[in-house]
Symmetry: C2
Subunit: 223 residues, 2 copies
């Protein structure tokens, strides 16, 4: 131990060096609860407001809720992570630092600043976060580019999640403090960004194909 | 040097361990020339054949050439790399191994099996390679999903190239044997997969938007 004081972080691999690490202060239920409740608040507000929009289907309202939730998660939570390389040294019990200290129990590459993780999180936070909020706006205002935008962001989320899981696998898949954290944080939490973007890609693909078929029929009629 | 014989590879960083490394046999001009000429052959054949297709614009013919070139590059060159972890030990002067021994002078992460590089190359070779050849087919047969497919692959290429450059930057950007190899291989060769996919994304985006506007107009007429 070069730094004098012994390493006392809870992460795996155990030989990961995190000089100056300050332990998590908030409980797991507080950290997860605040995220869950604030997400529920955002989703509820969007659901209620979107209900007053004329001719907006329930699927579009659900999608608006998703884009608000995922956009704010990308921009705030992941944005904080990308630009806070020393979050694990935070002594102020800042909520966002606590989130990543806790999540690192499921994937210590976050605390270790793995280049693959930062690259994916950087693209997610900087490009996909704002783009998700734009997607919400394009559904509300029925823009013609709404489906392509939703397809583009969802493909980006899927690509990012693929890189995230593949790099972990290639590097030995040994970054979780226990099987519990592995399944709860690394597998379960990320599964949302596999399942939901996949469903959106399928839906947008069909909608875009349908638009081209209408265009094709019209061209035929004109002839 | 644990392995007995001294390390004698030409790559940077110099302390990279590649036990069993066998030097490149073919000259740079042979390696680049074979790739250039076989690409030119593929592009010429596609250009000539596509000229006989009814109502196929020059842009679509150029795109067919691109999808053939990039699809075969992904599937063959990058496919070989992904599934040949020990290419740097190859003693047979196998052309594909020579390509990656040579390219590693521009980015030694290939020889070092960096997880980020393999993740991106894996997605590129396994998914984008075959999908690019499918894109060629959809242009030739004027499928309604051609633009979405081209958009999807191009976005994947852009995302992959972004991860490729960002991870190198985060890990110190010190993987090229010299400034010449840095600019010729790492910057110039990869620039094709930034510029061309960007142009295709813009074109497909416009085409898809136009299709939705036609659909919108038709709905208005029906009312």
């Amino acid at each position: 131990m070069e730094e004098g004081a012994p390493q006392s972080h809870p992460y795996v691999p155990r030989d990961l060096k995190l000089p100056g690490y300050v332990p998590v202060v908030l409980s797991q239920s507080t950290i997860v609860g605040v995220y869950g409740l604030s997400s529920l608040l955002v989703v509820s507000v969007i659901w209620i407001i979107s209900g007053r929009f004329p001719k907006t289907s329930k699927i579009d309202r659900l999608l608006m809720c998703w884009w608000a939730f995922t956009g704010l998660t990308h921009a705030i939570l992941e944005g904080y992570f990308v630009f806070s390389p020393e979050f694990y040294k935070d002594k102020t019990a800042c909520y966002l630092a606590e989130v990543w200290k806790e999540y690192s129990k499921g994937d210590s590459r976050y605390a270790a600043r793995d280049a693959g993780v930062i690259a994916v999180e950087g693209i997610t936070a900087v490009l996909e976060g704002p783009a998700s909020l734009l997607a919400l706006y394009t559904i509300a205002t029925k823009k013609s580019y709404s489906y392509i935008l939703q397809l583009t962001i969802s493909l980006g989320q899927l690509y990012g999640t693929a890189v995230y899981f593949i790099t972990s696998y290639l590097d030995g898949d040994n970054f979780a403090a226990s099987a519990y954290y592995y399944y709860a944080y690394y597998v379960f939490a990320n599964a949302f960004w596999v399942v939901i973007p996949s469903l959106i890609v399928i839906r947008c693909w069909k909608k875009i194909c349908a638009a081209f078929q209408v265009q094709g029929q019209q061209k035929t009629k004109v002839r």
